[in-house]
Symmetry: C2
Subunit: 208 residues, 2 copies
Amino acid sequence: MPTTFSDQRKLSVVLFEGFELLDVFGPVQLFGSLPDVAIEYVGPHTGPVISSKGARVVADLAYEDLARPDILMVPGGQGTRTLVDDAGFLAWLGQAGSRADLVASVCTGSALLAAAGLLEGYSATSNKRAFTWASGFGDDVDWRPRARWVHDRDRWTSSGVAAGMDMATGMIADLYDADTARAVTLRAEYEPHTDSTRDPFADVYRLG
Amino acid sequence: MPTTFSDQRKLSVVLFEGFELLDVFGPVQLFGSLPDVAIEYVGPHTGPVISSKGARVVADLAYEDLARPDILMVPGGQGTRTLVDDAGFLAWLGQAGSRADLVASVCTGSALLAAAGLLEGYSATSNKRAFTWASGFGDDVDWRPRARWVHDRDRWTSSGVAAGMDMATGMIADLYDADTARAVTLRAEYEPHTDSTRDPFADVYRLG
């Protein structure tokens, strides 16, 4: 269908030093196939931000220049281990997230959301290998140890790394419809797991 | 296990304008978990290269500065449509690939390998939606319409986009062992398809 700029939904992806690559580019691969979604990358500064696997991805704008996002997406990665203690970052994230229509995280990105106060009163999940660490953040978060992803009102949180693609498929089905979700996964030759409660990695890491 | 630089295996990823993000970062997510693999990004110039979905990824070195790669990996994406007619690029790719221990492609990256002469006498596959186009390149290529990926001696080619993660899992099992492959997929919470001949997308696109 034809779209104009005013129809666009903006997906704002948060980058930080040590973000996990697939946490970002799994969901982006799927959302990026939707003609009415514009994707922007927000970093500590404009320009290259180094990932946990060494690749450098260019941030289009700095944190302080982010306008109201439609969807704010926060990846995990080694960088989260220091950011959970970074009061300036958490204050920014809390404000940006509270202005967004939807806030989503992949992997240990949910530790950042919780530390920023964005999961108070919500159900959420996180990376299963790092679950004990991640679920220590937040005062009133219903952490779910067995979930591929959790959708609770305007918060979406996924399990580790590749789970972000399944959550993104679920988000697209919810925001558009099942046919649209099927079309974007077909295009990527991806077979999504569509049951958010199916989580073989909870068993691997002896959770829940 | 401890590694020194001399033990490292180098994965050289080819970037070009309009490369597909997940074609690169699916395999990189898995290879990047191996302590003895160093990943470098090679582009038409050093600095940012724009993907088909808009994200800009920084090339560490320019094509002409690539030394002998251990593994040369070529993604697909819209950019392949013009590069198959770019004699300078194809001459470089042919030379770089013939010096590599292994050459791998994801999605329509195999059209580039074929156009550069790197698949003569080999079996190969490609993206299923673009299979008719991709399989028009090369003089003596045994194109396989029904395959998640094809491994033929020192050539690995995968089907579209997400298939690159399954091929990378197969490559790691072949280069290391099955336990190592299982460890990297567990870490990424990824459930790989381990049968290279299982290809539901061949049916979707009515191939083979």
